[in-house]
């Protein structure tokens, strides 16, 4: 358990096209977590949904959102957590819901 609490305020998710293992493109889920602030530090933050850890985690320039990519859709009802090692950690009260993942735009 981290020693400081990271405040999180919401989450949204959408299907996106994502680089595959080869030179192909696959569908992945991009999860974006909102909060008052996600600090930029030496430590790389982790975005975790259930037991799955996001790839390519990045913080928006305004520091208010963090997002990452999942090659597999996270489990229904999984908890959404952002943590910086065991320094700082927050978990959303609201669980991840597959039905709330926005589909790919038609034509993609």
């Amino acid at each position: 358990m981290a020693r400081h609490v990271l405040e999180l305020s919401g989450v949204e998710a959408e299907f996106v096209l994502y680089p595959g293992e080869a030179e192909d493109v696959v569908e992945a889920v991009r999860v974006t977590v909102h909060g008052p602030t996600f600090p930029q530090r030496a430590l790389v933050p982790e975005l975790i949904v259930g037991r799955a850890e996001a790839e390519r985690v990045s913080i928006a320039p305004d520091g208010r959102t963090i997002r990452g990519y999942f090659r597999m859709q996270p489990a229904e009802g999984a908890s959404v957590t952002v943590r910086y090692g065991n320094s700082l950690e927050g978990t959303l009260r609201k669980a991840f819901r597959r039905r709330s993942v926005r589909p790919l735009p038609k034509g993609c």
Binding site: P39, Q40, A42, L43
Partner: protein, 445 residues
């Protein structure tokens, strides 16, 4: 530009900042650039975007070395003034790791830049390099609130313990993470001070000016030694010499040259406290604790990735003796007997806040011996205490004893034959107590 360019070419220093939310991070080392320029370096600080990771930063360093190479070749201000055969890379935090990574890329990809030193201030170590490729200096604050040691492998000792030699380390009591960058220091109240610097720590960190003086003094000395061939400047790392403006600070150094004869590196697996690396016997007398293992196994406060030996003594005289096999007894070609040592934090055998001490004895094959106090050559300080107790570090530092100290004429004392050194022993006084950890017992330069 506020001064005319002096004639000639000057070594190049490239500085890479670490990660913060500030786009102006690269401006936070102007104090260091000015100091380096005044000592005959062409010094530049470069920009990496917010969030950039290690590889990006390392590639940016090398790209900017390329920029300076072009400026050296083209007509203009820098034409002919950049000595590309003598380059130092300095980085802070993620930039510190990138400084190491850049030197490795330079070698692996045959880029041919004359990088001669990597200097990592409060570095991360995401990639666990087994070599720095070039001489390495790490500077780390005991009150670092970012690369603080919250995970066992999240300290700045990692990159040092894993690096090849030569390597040097400067551990600064009271130094933090952000204050090495003047831009970051302006926002520390919302960053580092909300992480791992607690209210009880607040009076203890050294000032911003102190951080600047540490960086200016040690970075410059290291670059002078490694890029300008001024070996006398290694005394700042090897012999406890301190830059004048840091004289009031508690700074503890480790210096490990290449080419040493390791009597015991404590890395044999399985660990065997009864034998050293040379194959000589190791014995303990009246030592309630004598154990060899990974230091993190022996001590939850150890920040190191290395094996070592833990020794405790209590009231009665204790002796730890490491024998040197016959084939390895000629150490006359070396200058120094050295080891790394720390007090074990939390041991009831160590008096809180007090330095520790003991005798080191060399004995030759004829039985002649001489014992000298370790504290004559380096202090063995009590670990730096900070608010979050699990971040307190039993940090190793070097004790380096000139071998001449064991042979110089001294009335009533034996002169030890350095061509036939049979044993090294640590001897602990009756009436005292202590618990220490030791690594890398060696003869070297």
């Amino acid at each position: 530009m506020d001064a005319p360019l002096a004639p000639g070419a000057f070594p190049l220093v490239v500085v890479m900042h670490g990660n913060s939310g500030m786009e102006s991070s690269y401006l936070g080392y102007n104090y260091l650039l000015d100091h380096l320029a005044s000592h005959g370096f062409v010094a530049v600080s470069i920009y990496a975007h917010v969030g950039a990771f290690i590889e990006t930063r390392a590639r940016a360093i090398l790209a900017h070395v390329g920029v300076m190479a072009q400026k050296n070749a083209d007509p203009g201000l820098f034409h002919g003034h950049v000595d590309l055969g003598h380059i130092g890379i300095v980085g802070h935090s993620r930039g510190g790791e990138a400084a190491v990574r850049a030197s490795l890329i330079n070698a692996a990809e045959g880029l041919g830049y004359g990088i001669e030193a990597s200097i990592a201030i409060a570095p991360t170590d995401y990639n666990h390099y087994l070599t720095a490729g070039v001489p390495l200096l790490v500077i780390y604050g005991a009150n670092d609130g970012d690369v603080a040691g919250t995970w066992p492998d999240r300290t700045c000792f990692n990159i040092f313990d894993e690096a090849s030699r030569p390597r040097s380390f400067v551990f600064v009591y009271g130094a933090t993470h952000d204050r090495f960058n003047t831009e970051w220091a302006s926002i520390e109240a919302t960053t580092e001070l909300t992480w791992h610097i607690t209210p009880s720590d607040i009076p203890n960190p050294i000032s911003l000016t102190d951080h600047e003086n540490v960086a200016k003094g040690y970075v410059t000395a290291f670059l002078q030694a490694r890029a300008l061939g001024r070996d006398e400047q290694l005394a700042y790392f090897a012999d406890g010499l301190k830059p004048s403006l840091t004289s009031a600070l508690a700074i503890h150094t480790t210096h490990q040259p290449a080419g040493s004869k390791l009597v015991d590196d404590f890395e044999q697996l399985p660990h065997n406290v009864a034998a050293n690396t040379l194959g000589g016997a190791v014995t303990g007398t009246s030592l309630p604790v004598l154990a060899e293992d990974a230091l993190r196994t022996l001590d939850i406060h150890s920040p190191h990735i290395t094996g070592g030996v833990e020794i405790a003594w209590q009231t009665s005289p204790g002796i730890y003796l490491s024998s040197v096999p016959v084939a390895s007894r000629d150490v006359s070609g070396f200058q120094t007997l050295a080891f790394r040592v720390t007090q074990k934090y939390g041991s009831p055998q160590n008096a809180v806040g007090q330095p520790q001490d003991f005798f080191v004895r060399l004995k030759d094959g004829t039985g002649k011996s001489r014992a000298l106090r370790a504290s004559v050559f380096a202090s063995i300080p009590y670990p730096y205490v900070r608010g979050e107790a699990d971040l307190i570090k039993s940090a190793l530092k070097s004790v380096r004893m000139p071998l001449a100290s064991f042979t110089i004429a001294n009335l009533g004392a034996d002169d030890v034959d350095l061509t036939d050194v049979a044993s090294i022993s640590f001897e602990f006084d009756a009436g005292s107590s202590g618990e220490i950890e030791i690594d890398d017992l060696e003869f070297g330069d």
